[in-house]
């Protein structure tokens, strides 16, 4: 996994993530017991729940990074890139959440999609952040992109509890907070916990690498600007010579 954006820290993190993934496969698919009611279906939980946790975490990080960019004491394009990178990762986990959620729903409720509070607000958030990424590549200078995206992200983050609250009061049919009720056996809880830890490590690893890729992209844009500046000067000087009698610089 060596590459230009890796450092010792990311390599250690990468190794830990791989280890965690194997661990999750082992426990999630084999070592943890079947559920009394859902039998093997419950194993989807070990990827679904961590994905939900990751998607919300990623979008909250995007919101915090956007506030950090807007606040002039901490304004720097690194925050903007973190916000962008985190939203991209968040959207992947959100998609995974929706797919695994509907598969699991098919098994436990017999229906792929139910107008349930959490499903609906997750789907709405997915669309909101697709809109956020659309705003991110509207063009303009990096500063314009950063300011515009930061605002849309902050409105989106304020939106999350609002959507959730309003849809929750509409009606709700979600798993009855299985983790909280403690009806899960210890082994299941342990597998679920290792899933969450692994996914969090994975998120940090992806975030660091993505931020650095964006940093190189921005540096390249600036590099192209300098090259174009030199070109323009040459073009001007060339044109200046014959046209006027005054000596060029």
């Amino acid at each position: 996994m060596t590459g230009s954006t890796s450092t010792r820290f990311t390599r250690v993190l990468g190794a830990a993530t791989l280890l965690g993934t194997l661990w999750l496969f082992l426990f999630g698919l084999f070592l943890s017991p079947d559920d009394i009611i859902q039998r093997r279906g419950v194993r989807i939980m070990y990827v679904h729940v961590p994905s939900v946790w990751l998607a919300y975490l990623a979008f909250v990080v995007t919101g915090i990074a956007s506030v950090a960019y807007l606040w002039n004491k901490t304004r720097s394009l690194v925050w903007d890139r973190i916000a962008g990178a985190s939203a991209e990762i968040g959207i992947l986990f959100m998609a995974v959440t929706l797919v695994t959620g509907s598969l699991w729903g098919r098994l436990s409720w017999g229906k792929y999609w139910v107008w349930d509070a959490r499903l609906t607000s997750t789907a709405l958030m997915f669309v909101t952040y697709v809109g956020y990424l659309a705003v991110r590549n509207l063009g303009g200078t990096h500063q314009q992109r950063a300011k515009r995206s930061a605002l849309v992200a902050i409105f989106a983050v304020i939106e999350i509890p609002l959507v959730h609250f309003s849809v929750e009061r509409w009606n709700t049919l979600h798993q009855e907070e299985s983790v909280a009720k403690g009806k899960l056996q210890d082994m299941m809880l342990f597998s679920l916990f290792s899933g969450i830890v692994t996914f969090t490590l994975l998120y940090v690893w992806l975030l660091i690498h993505r931020q650095r890729v964006l940093a190189m992209q921005d540096a390249l844009d600036d590099r192209e600007l300098d090259r174009a500046l030199i070109e323009r000067r040459a073009e001007a000087d060339a044109a200046a010579q014959p046209a006027t009698t005054s000596a060029g610089v």
């Binding site: 200078t141 600007l225 500046l229 000067r233 001007a236 044109a239 005054s246 060029g248 610089v249």
Partner: protein, 229 residues
């Protein structure tokens, strides 16, 4: 034209970027109050962008600049209220009449009815024309309406991009007298135009815009201008 007052426009090594393209790559310019400047040069050289930079619309990415004594990097919005920019489009509301357009612009600066009436008079948009929706006006009449809006907004610096485009001969002469009249009453005018022969007699100073830079043009009328540094 006393040059003791602060220059209306002062740019030193100003760079402005469109996307990632440096449309202005180090511009030096100094314009005194009441001057009428002609920007000449090929298309894509940066004439329009220079006008938008002076209007505070296009952010300055490197170098320094000030318009009407206000800093171009930090006080861009304050600059805008003192500047009128007339691009290829007139910035008018097609559905509204001439008078309604002027009343709207007057309302944003709190101009009085007399000021609006005076502007209509100055631009020859009296009674009959004033109640006609803008979309039914000729190009020349629309251009004069846009200039009237600038008058109503009490703009100190007039930035005109190809003002003669789409005008017939009569409307062009009409426009020239308006511009001269404006400079005499203290406004400063910068015009970007291709029609060099038209401007020879009028413009006090001509500046060549090429490759995002300015080269002063030796013109018969004036003494050696402050050339590029």
């Amino acid at each position: 034209m006393d040059s003791s007052a602060a220059p209306v426009v002062e740019l030193s090594d100003a760079v402005a970027v469109l996307g990632s393209f440096p449309v202005l790559a180090g511009v030096d310019l100094r314009v005194e109050a009441g001057e009428l400047i002609l920007l000449r040069g090929p298309n894509g050289a940066g004439k329009t962008s220079l006008l938008r930079l002076c209007a505070g619309l296009l952010p300055i990415s490197r170098g320094r600049g000030s318009v009407c004594g206000l800093d171009l990097t930090t006080q861009r919005r304050a600059i805008r209220s003192r500047v009128g920019l007339l691009g290829h489009a007139n910035g008018l509301y097609q559905d509204l009449t001439v008078h309604e357009n002027l009343r709207f612009w007057g309302a944003t600066v709190g101009a009085s009815a007399q000021e609006i009436g005076a502007a209509e008079q100055r631009m020859g948009l009296a009674a009959r024309l004033a109640t006609v929706p803008v979309e039914r006006l000729s190009a020349g009449q629309k251009r004069r309406t846009a200039l009237a809006c600038m008058l109503v907004r009490r703009a100190q610096l007039w930035l005109l991009d190809e003002p003669h485009a789409g005008l017939d001969a009569a409307a062009r002469d009409d426009l020239d007298t308006v511009l001269i009249d404006a400079t005499r009453s203290g406004a400063t005018v910068i015009v970007a135009s291709h029609e060099l022969e038209r401007w020879a007699g009028l413009a006090a100073r001509q500046v060549e815009v090429v490759g995002g830079h300015l080269n002063p043009v030796r013109s018969t009328l004036e003494t050696t201008p402050p050339g590029r540094g």
